[in-house]
Symmetry: C2
Subunit: 370 residues, 2 copies
């Protein structure tokens, strides 16, 4: 039995990502496939690198995209920077901080995991104490924790990393394109994100950027990284210089991300940040107006991902099911320690619109009977 062609409806994606993809990005995804070494693809990659530099606010030469989702970018940063036995300090106050620690462990690091309460940012002073003045290879933190909706300011981590002799690795999966992010000004050495949240492309690519110091460390490896697929030395030879074959990248995903990055830069980063801040605040006020309690205090709240506590006696799955079935709206459930306890409502990239704020508030009011 051969299944029928897929019939895919138009949803409104207001979960933790993917976010709604703009029509011109969807159209770009279906332009004719080209070879991964076609001169036109190589030129598109150069333009993509340049746009990713602008989005990350960096002059880092090695700014490109791995052929995988955000987790591939996380693994690329860690597997290339960690050498067996390295000490790695991870600030974890949510699911993705814990994932950073887990991947660092698999890469052979001796991990010091500083766990903070879910729903708040990590305390840098506590991390400093946990490090105990030792030498570390990396300090890792999550800029926008997708599981809790918490913003962590990476800037103060630079001083800590310097004290420990470490490079600073930042997870920007849910922050890029949504909230202020300044890779060079904040002294970030390695950063990764995704294509499907603040940039509103389909998933499948992870923008990464390495500082000159990080590249030096990667180039100086005596032992090759444990991963071949995400080996940064091989990826750098494909994205620049010799243009050597490493893997058969998807031209179509490049087209999509190229168009999504174009749209973000056409809007302008400051305007985009302002739009997310304004609409996130509107959504938060509207949710509180429905008598719902938010998961994060205003000063640490992500405008692009609002975490709401599920009220006592309300059936998580039933509410999300009704939003999906009756209104075609996706919101996110909880992850890890927050499973069954919170909803996560995303307003990301092209999905961050007054229309979507109005829609989700109205639909939630109907489903909750408020």
């Amino acid at each position: 039995m051969i299944p029928a062609p897929l019939l895919i409806p138009q949803r409104v994606l207001l979960g933790p990502g993917p976010s709604d993809v703009a029509p011109s990005v969807l159209a770009a995804l279906s332009k004719p496939t080209l070879g991964h070494l076609d001169p036109l693809v190589l030129r598109a990659m150069d333009e993509l690198s340049e746009m990713l530099r602008a989005l990350y606010r960096t002059r880092n030469e090695w700014t490109f995209a791995t052929s995988g989702t955000g987790t591939s970018g996380m693994e690329a940063c860690l597997a290339n920077l960690i050498r067996g036995g390295d000490r790695v300090l991870v600030l974890a106050h949510g699911y993705f901080g814990l994932r950073l620690a887990e991947i660092a462990r698999r890469c052979g690091a001796e991990v010091t995991r500083v766990e903070g309460a879910w729903g708040r940012p990590s305390d840098v002073e506590r991390a400093r104490q946990a490090a105990g003045g030792g030498r570390f290879a990396l300090v890792c933190a999550v800029h926008a924790e997708t599981s809790t909706g918490v913003l962590q300011d990476p800037a103060p981590l630079r001083a800590l990393a310097d004290e420990l002799g470490a490079l600073l690795v930042v997870d920007a999966v849910t922050s890029l394109g949504c909230v202020p992010l300044e890779v060079d000004a904040w002294g970030i050495d390695a950063i990764y994100s995704c294509s499907q949240k603040g940039l509103s492309c389909t998933p499948g690519l992870s923008p990464v950027s390495f500082s000159p110091r990080a590249v030096e460390r990667i180039r100086a490896r005596a032992q090759s990284s444990p991963t071949f697929y995400l080996d940064a030395n091989l990826l750098m030879a494909y994205w620049g210089g010799p243009r050597g074959y490493h893997h058969t990248a998807s031209s179509n995903l490049y087209y999509g991300l190229h168009e999504a990055a174009r749209l973000a830069l056409e809007e302008g980063l400051e305007a985009r940040w302002e739009r997310h801040a304004r609409l996130g605040a509107e959504l938060a006020a509207g949710l509180e107006g429905l008598g719902l309690e938010l998961g994060v205090a205003a000063e640490h709240r992500l405008p692009q991902l609002t975490v709401v506590k599920i009220p006592e006696g309300v059936d998580d799955a039933a509410v999300r099911g009704a939003l999906l079935e009756r209104f075609g709206i996706e919101i996110g459930g909880g992850l890890g320690a927050f499973k069954g306890k919170v909803w996560r409502i995303g307003l990301m990239g092209s999905g961050a619109s007054p229309r979507n704020v109005a829609l989700v508030l109205s639909a939630l009011r109907a489903v909750l009977g408020r």
Copy 2:
């Protein structure tokens, strides 16, 4: 400076992949993006698994796609099956056999690499002697070597693997959908392929399949695999059973591969194999008619990828450049030891048509002045 939107021409892709993507597959890629845990996406994944089983001729429960290119599938098979110190026997007579050995080494295996001449299949008897009757965890080989255009029959490797107590791992990147492949009948324990060759989708997904024995070995790991992104235990929990979040897979790539698999099964595997065989033979005869020498003897030649020796005095880059510029035709150059020495002409999936055979022969005749 924000770059202009990409203008992508219609090429004819007759290299080693990607192959030309059918219009309905391109259209599928731009259907509305959905969340990776949307019930409709989960259903599409179930259908995709079922179709991949049919394409691989297997009843293996764990038949799914990793979110990456063919190399991600190679790494997924090796990194999940190898435990540090395991002995791994690799038959290598080309670039991708060598890549298998390299990735196995990075996974901590003690690799016995049996190197054969490029342009011929590996000699199973030599591999048996090299193994010296020892115990091995894996025997690895490439079904269709993309760098040399050589077909290796995997069936006789089952007996060798049995003698060594090993699982049999096969690279089907360039074979799936083009030439006969019988995962269950041939006793293959782990296999991986790609989306962009015999199946004619865009790159970005790697169909993999694990036999029950392979799954048992993966589930019994005491140490987690070095890769988190490609951890088969976590991927199995996403593709089946608990449907746990692991990574944010691209619904759009799933749509594309779903449609490509549908088209392959609508045609029928036997009909598809016959079409490739017939057109590959036509192309080979046509190339010899132009006075060109083929790289592989007829009995070991891949119909879907014909390797041609570049005639003395002919400029490799100039010829491929002229085909691309004047005719919009991509053919492949040589890889590794064959760089600058051969061309690789692919007739894969929807690109394997009488029209393309006629076109590439005529264009080559014009460019070579024959």
